[in-house]
Symmetry: C2
């Protein structure tokens, strides 16, 4: 086990009707609030009214900025920073999924910074002061509701880049599973893939003696795999929605990565798909993970066999670990398909014509390797895209 710091200061308010507490919670941190949201689905299902009612009841002065899209754009972040400065905003309330929350975090990051907020993403420089952010989560997937991360896409050059800082953890996040009843099944499924991915990035590690976090990882993945089909078959299944929603937050709040090297190759390789084709991140991950697994599993047959056994109850064939490992990968593919996810580029009607460009960008022009479990260069990334073609 490696040395680590675990510092997760996001307060989670979880359960039915909890969105009615948003005014009271916001009041602790801000007087002038930016209400940030997406393309309007919060207005369609009545959430907007509940949120603004609660803010008004707490006498909170707020302005609004909607329009966040999947794979949130730098342009809107710039607009948000300008608006917040002009209106002397002291708190950002993000109501939406990971894209809205990531956009809010990026605005909070740029607010006090004199230079271009993209500097943080392009150079990884440390944040020193940010606006506080709170969230009301509508799509369980990204884990941004209690994570340190934000991922923003710069339109020019289709650059999708992540950035992390402890300062970016939301002050509070309200998680009401009922709000997710209206999610399209495709989004529920993509969310499940995303949160499983966040666990896999930690699970596949070269760090040994990480028994506790291995068990926690397995518990989260199994819970998501058990409950995603239930939520899809019955959209109003509160308990299944609750398991998924809490799993998504715990998957990415830092706990399960404690004491271990994390990988993150698959996320970087996927980001190029989202950036190029504007595919939801979870959908892209369903395409990339099986290919990545097939490409790297020989690096640690034991761990892949363990994955097959612990997640899918596949008996470990000690005399043929490779067989067990491959069965595990196949089982994961089957699960993705069962919940309606594509598992190949061809399932998305995409071909290989941008693979070279995407592999080049993922490896920063062939200059860097990605991942820590197995370090992958541009050629490796290209091979993974090819494995995922059809």
């Amino acid at each position: 086990m490696l040395n680590f710091v675990f510092d997760n200061k996001t307060e989670i308010i979880f359960g039915k009707h909890t969105e009615s507490q948003v005014g009271e919670l916001t009041k602790r941190y801000g007087k002038k609030v930016l209400l940030h949201y997406g393309s309007g689905s919060i207005k369609k299902y009545g959430l907007y009214e509940k949120i603004t009612k609660s803010l008004n009841e707490s006498n909170i002065d707020f302005i609004e900025l909607g329009g966040v899209v999947a794979n949130p754009k730098l342009g809107l972040v710039y607009a948000g920073i300008e608006l917040c400065r002009k209106e002397n905003v002291d708190f950002i309330l993000a109501v939406g999924g990971g894209s809205v929350i990531d956009s809010a975090k990026a605005i909070s990051l740029g607010y006090y910074y004199d230079g271009d907020v993209w500097d943080f993403f392009s150079t990884g420089k440390a944040a020193e002061k940010v606006l506080p952010v709170g969230t009301v989560l509508t799509i369980p997937a990204a884990g941004s509701e209690s994570s340190t991360a934000t991922v923003i896409t710069k339109e020019e050059g289709e650059l999708k880049v992540g950035y992390g800082s402890l300062l970016l953890r939301p002050k509070f996040s309200i998680l009401n599973p009922e709000i997710t009843f209206t999610l399209p099944n495709y989004q529920t499924a993509a969310g499940a893939v995303d949160m499983i991915g966040h666990v896999m990035e930690r699970y596949f590690t070269n760090t040994t003696n990480v028994e506790l976090t291995d068990r926690l990882c397995e518990g989260i993945i199994k819970t998501v795999i058990n409950n995603a089909p239930l939520a899809i078959n019955d959209n109003n299944n509160y308990n299944a929605r609750a398991e998924i929603m809490w799993s998504g937050a715990v998957a990415h709040n830092g706990l399960i990565g404690t004491g271990r090297e994390e990988d993150w190759a698959s996320h970087i390789i996927e980001h190029e798909i989202s950036a190029k084709y504007n595919v939801a991140h979870g959908v892209g991950l369903a395409v990339i993970y099986p290919a990545w697994m097939k490409y790297v599993y020989k690096h640690d047959l034991n761990r892949f066999a363990l994955f097959a056994n612990k997640i899918f109850d596949i008996e470990i064939n000690e005399s043929n670990l490779e067989e067990t490992a491959l069965k595990g990968i196949e089982a994961l593919e089957n699960f993705y398909q069962e919940i309606g996810m594509p598992i190949r580029f061809s399932d998305l009607n995409l071909d290989d014509k941008h693979f070279e460009e995407m592999a080049s960008k993922a490896s920063q022009g062939g200059k860097v390797e990605v991942g820590l479990f197995v370090k992958l260069n541009k050629e490796d990334i290209l091979n993974i895209y090819k494995l995922a073609l059809k």
Copy 2:
């Protein structure tokens, strides 16, 4: 799943040599520090020198109060409050196990309060303002290093009572598994029992649809059961010590209780043993748990069978769940014995002469029931003590 709030703001600094960061961490919160510790083992093994060196290097002015004993006493808490007020202390650094940390928390609780600090314990009244506390953990067991709880014993009447408040979470806790190399095996084992107990208090619940936290509970218990014997067989086994130390904190930081009713009967029933005989809490729990389980298992055979299966890999006999449940209880007893713990009063050379008095106190003179999984009155508690006799 029930509604919940999860708010765990303790920063964990985990790993080798981390105690050297104590000065730097303390400096963030205080200028005049009370260094609080136990009976002197921190001086025996060089930890005291490391801590005071780090505090001095950070130019921190500190005073000392040692002498905390197992089942920490109210008398020393009063002395600590008085000392802190006299010396204008603004931060308490607890270096020790759960007893030292609990004592520090109680001092922090009383510092700003005009009345008797025992009021909080006797009435459960809400804390409004406390001194900040940081910790360097030396005994993994109580989980106090990131919990909201403190348990103090009032000498007069041998009253051992717990109190909880979000304000009592330490600001930071330093966890270096190396510090635990010098622990006597008996203490390592009692710590393992204690942390498993913290999980069991959550695991045995009437709340349904708590799949994620069930899996997390099982992961923690299995990890402790796998690693405690390794640590006892080889005191310097860093990895086993690390698994245990991190498990103890995660077991009691609130995560695994999210969304579920918790029980806590066994803890209350055990507190009377500690208070009466000054037995370590974990030791008392090893005596109480098997008896409690045998007394209540019929309330939910499924859950006890699940416990047997998930923790001890005992195959579930669907046509005789009782058999599976009993095998699980037996396996837990065997584990306790394997690590050198008593499992009956007779193993501690104690008889039944105080059972009536203890049952009366645990039930506040027969006026209250304890536990939520199965509510137990004075008679039930007495029966459990009797079951645990020999």
